[in-house]
């Protein structure tokens, strides 16, 4: 686990790049809409978070050059590698989601009725994005044109999560008991578990360069 934490201490500039991205896109949106209806707020939030997540996660595996990767290969087991990257991305995207919420709330108002529910939804969403995109980034790093490939390939994998999240968010616009969210949240979490399991079992095959 210590190796995980060691490996996580990287790419601090990623955070600042993403903050800049979120700020600028939100500012553009702010200029375009004078008032936002709640549904539009939700849709915009998730679109921006989605693209920021794609930007963020694609930095996972693509920045490394082959020398560094060879060094890592000697040093740590593939399981530690993929887990640490996933953990890093989860934390990064969690921060991103919270930041987006703050910026959106600040500029465009906060139509969600319950902050607790929104925290749960946005963090589950961020986790789901992070896990899926880390895995896709690991796969895309093997191909030539990895930057664009990552985006193209990441999108279909992410879309089901986005659909469920938007559905949940729309429900969060009204005051509803928690049981309404239960099934879908459980669905999202089980998708996360599946992704992590598949990654743990199959990442070693990718790692043997």
């Amino acid at each position: 686990m210590r190796k995980d934490l060691l490996l996580e201490w990287r790419e601090k500039n990623a955070l600042s790049a993403i903050v800049l991205y979120v700020l600028s896109t939100t500012f553009v949106i702010y200029q375009m809409f004078v008032t936002t209806e709640p549904e539009v707020w939700v849709a915009l939030y998730w679109v921006i978070t989605l693209f920021a997540a794609l930007n963020a996660a694609s930095r996972s595996f693509i920045h490394e050059n082959s020398n560094l990767r060879f060094y890592y290969f000697q040093l740590v087991s593939p399981h530690a590698m993929i887990l640490s990257k996933m953990l890093f991305n989860v934390v990064l995207l969690g921060i991103l989601a919270l930041l987006s919420t703050l910026i959106f709330g600040g500029l465009l108002g906060f139509p969600i009725k319950s902050v607790k529910i929104w925290l749960v939804i946005s963090l589950v969403g961020a986790t789901g994005f992070a896990l899926a995109l880390t895995m896709v980034s690991a796969l895309a790093s093997k191909a030539r044109n990895s930057g664009m490939l990552m985006t193209i390939l990441g999108l279909p994998i992410i879309i089901p999560q986005v659909l469920v999240l938007v559905d949940l968010s729309k429900k969060a616009l009204m005051v509803l008991p928690f049981s309404v969210y239960g099934t879908r949240l459980l669905g999202l979490l089980s998708i996360d578990i599946i992704i992590v399991t598949v990654a743990l079992v199959f990442f070693p095959f990718l790692w043997k360069d």
Partner: protein, 234 residues
């Protein structure tokens, strides 16, 4: 697990005898399907005949994707190129049947629900599954090194399959939907099918599935030949 590349299995797969079965079955299904009586229900009326086409397409796609997964796993274990070629061809033909299933579904939706696309969860998620398998195809084409290509596509196949299972089988059942098999009910329970329809439906599933396997074996043989040609030339 049996080795599929022995001369005996190859001869078996090439033989004409088992291919007569899907031809016969599908001719029977098409003839009977359109000429026999279909139970008349409100809204569905005659379009229930689409059941002989739409549902077997998806069953076939699922079966082909499962077999593709099996071959991908075999490749990861044994690193034999032929397993990789089988995997990709099963996925290819599975994708074809998936698109056919989606199209038949859309035509059916136009008649019964009024629109080709209704943003229904099952429709959405099955389209997304096909997108994910298309991603698999694009991925394969974007990697040039053969060994890396085979390994990465094997892992991606597992990933795509593990995405398909919740998307098509689990999530739509939990969500509200127009498509049969939602809100917790299974799509096909025992008393759902009329007797006459059953006699046509079950052979239809077998017929379409065998047709899918036949297409795959043809494509696979083409691929093996192309592969050998490249080897000879390079």
């Amino acid at each position: 697990m049996p080795n599929f590349a022995t001369p005996k299995t190859k001869a078996l797969l090439k033989g004409i005898y088992w291919k007569i079965i899907p031809i016969a079955i599908l001719l029977y299904v098409v003839y009977q399907g359109f000429l026999s009586d279909a139970p008349q229900l409100e809204i569905l009326e005659e379009t229930v005949r689409n059941l002989y086409f739409h549902v077997p397409m998806w069953f076939t796609m699922t079966a082909l994707f499962v077999i593709s997964l099996v071959f991908s796993l075999r490749y990861l274990r044994g690193q034999k190129r032929i397993d990789d070629l089988y995997a990709v061809e099963f996925a290819n033909v599975g994708l074809l049947f998936g698109f056919l299933g989606l199209t038949t579904g859309m035509v059916w939706a136009q008649f019964t629900w009024g629109f080709f696309w209704t943003w229904d969860p099952k429709q959405n998620f099955s389209a997304i599954t096909l997108l994910i398998y298309l991603v698999y195809m694009v991925f394969r084409n974007s990697i040039t090194d053969e060994k890396v290509k085979a390994r990465v596509s094997a892992v991606l196949n597992v990933f795509a399959f593990s995405a398909m299972v919740p998307l098509i089988f689990i999530l739509p059942r939990m969500m509200e939907s127009l498509h049969p098999g939602a809100d917790g009910n299974p799509a096909f329970s025992g008393y759902d099918l009329d007797g006459t329809m059953r006699t046509i439906f079950y052979p239809a599933v077998i017929g379409w599935a065998l047709l899918g396997v036949w297409l795959t074996t043809l494509r696979h043989r083409m691929r093996v030949i192309k592969d050998k040609l490249y080897e000879i030339h390079n």
